[in-house]
């Protein structure tokens, strides 16, 4: 199936089973998934290719999600929507508020709900 409107989502998490889950969800709605395991490596991916949405964890080993959010806010050439997926939303909410995030997903999350969100956000 060659969908000309096929979108790409960048998933950033240092848990490979979690990125795997996002990959499965995105597969169900015919969406490409690229993965990164830290803020820095996500920025490297963005320099290389275009994506339609980013889903990122906040607390990761190495450089965390805020490194990526700051890049998106201050340096990225185009505005890319980002959703945050974290178990620690409250702890960092103040800093999070200063960034323009389209959705805050708290871990653990409901797969079906996120599937609906992605469908509506990307293709709705």
């Amino acid at each position: 199936m060659n969908n000309p409107n096929r979108k790409t989502v960048l998933v950033v998490d240092d848990e490979k089973y979690l990125t795997g889950i996002w990959q499965e969800i995105l597969k169900m709605i015919d969406t490409d998934c690229v993965m990164a395991d830290s803020g820095e490596s996500a920025i490297a991916v963005l320099k290389d290719r275009e994506v339609d949405l980013i889903i990122t964890d906040l607390r990761m080993r190495g450089s965390d999600g805020f490194v990526l959010l700051r890049y998106l806010k201050n340096e990225a050439p185009t505005k890319i929507p980002a959703a945050v997926c974290s178990g620690f939303y409250n702890e960092s909410s103040e800093e999070l508020m200063s960034h323009d995030v389209v959705r805050v997903i708290s871990k653990p999350f409901d797969v079906r709900e996120e599937l609906d969100f992605l469908k509506a956000f990307l293709y709705g």
Binding site: E15, Y17, L18, I21, G87, P108, F109, D110
Partner: protein, 365 residues
């Protein structure tokens, strides 16, 4: 004062008025004589009713053998003191402290003469102080653990997200037409592997929060103890970008109270974490090796070290350089007393370039 002092004082009155128990016991443990204060403590009506009564029977069973040995020693000519508990004739339990020496009776037989005081109040106070100290040590231990709770929560939350996500996916797969059995099984295996991650953390937490009263001296592998503590601290260290290097000789076993030694290590790692947060280069090194008959376990960090005026106070209770609400100021003082209790030592190595604390413990045979 004129004349002989016996004009002023009668020895019998002295005996009657002495505010301590004054008594004579035979080598067989029979009560031969006792002053009124002694009768009060023994809850006896009068001397006649207890003459030749067996004193051993009044001593609590736990202390009886020791009391009998003490009596024999005294009756063979030695002096000494003994603390024991007795049950008085009407049932009151009392802690007694006795100072005794030999006393030769008119028959030539050597008996035991003693002044004995009721020290129940003092013993009870000491017990209370000990209980309070234990309660304080417990809360300090939990406070140390509390510093790592954020990391532990993160460590549990991620696997939970994996389990719930995978199960959500599997549910959807069941509703679809085609089921790839192998992929399904693989997902289940990953869920099980992920639950193992959680149960390991819980297992290690349980060791650490165990009731310290049941923390008996036992032989443990030093490497295993350190591995369990590190698994609790690991997430906080990773998220703070602190490198941890740990080298423990796997052959080393120590006889210790595991929870207590874990508490010491957690305090030291916690302090090291706080110290390196202020530096760009962040590492903590833990080294465990055998030096002669001792185990040396050191915790060093890349922090700026400890200022000289601070250094002399670090082992004082309630001394802390951390901001209000962060440190209890008890970590090092409690750690130090834990080490003494283990016949070991906790020292701050001043001659080290980096901040370094060293635990010295006797090695188990």
């Amino acid at each position: 004062m004129k004349g002989n002092n016996l004009d002023l004082i009668s020895l019998d009155e002295m005996f009657q008025s002495t505010p301590s128990c004054l008594k004579v016991i035979s080598s067989a443990g029979e009560l031969l004589h006792m002053n009124p204060q002694g009768l009060v403590l023994a809850e006896a009506e009068n001397m006649e009713s207890v003459f030749r009564a067996n004193v051993y029977d009044m001593v609590v069973p736990e202390h009886r053998d020791e009391f009998i040995r003490f009596n024999k020693r005294v009756c063979s000519g030695q002096r000494g003191s003994l603390v024991f508990e007795l049950v008085a004739l009407k049932g009151t339990r009392r802690w007694m402290e006795s100072y005794a020496g030999p006393y030769t009776l008119a028959s030539g037989e050597v008996a035991h003469i003693a002044i004995t005081n009721d020290i129940t109040a003092r013993v009870e106070t000491e017990k209370q102080v000990l209980e309070q100290r234990q309660a304080l040590a417990n809360s300090a231990r939990l406070a140390a653990l509390g510093e790592f709770v954020g990391g532990i929560a993160h460590e549990i939350n991620n696997p939970l997200a994996i389990i719930s996500g995978k199960l959500g996916l599997l549910e959807m797969v069941l509703e679809s037409q085609e089921i790839d059995k192998d992929a399904f099984k693989e997902n289940i295996r990953e869920v099980m592997e992920t639950t193992d991650r959680i149960s390991e953390i819980i297992h290690n937490l349980k060791t650490f929060s165990r009731d310290p009263d049941r923390d008996d001296f036992q032989e443990y592998s030093l490497a295993k103890i350190i591995e369990e503590i590190l698994s609790l601290c690991a997430e906080k260290l990773r998220l703070s970008n602190i490198d941890i290097e740990c080298r423990i000789d796997p052959e080393i076993n120590i006889v210790c109270q595991k929870v207590q030694i874990s508490q010491v290590m957690m305090n030291l790692i916690n302090n090291a974490c706080d110290a390196v947060m202020q530096t760009d280069v962040r590492w903590i090194k833990i080294l465990g090796r055998r030096i002669g008959g001792l185990v040396e376990l050191s915790v060093s960090d890349s922090g700026h070290g400890i200022a000289e005026d601070v250094e002399e106070k670090i082992f004082d209770p309630f001394f802390t350089t951390k901001e209000l609400g962060k440190g209890t100021g008890l970590g090092l003082s409690i750690s130090s007393s834990i080490l003494s209790h283990h016949n070991g030592k906790l020292i701050h190595r001043k001659d080290s370039i980096n901040t370094q604390f060293v635990l010295k413990l006797p090695i188990s045979a």
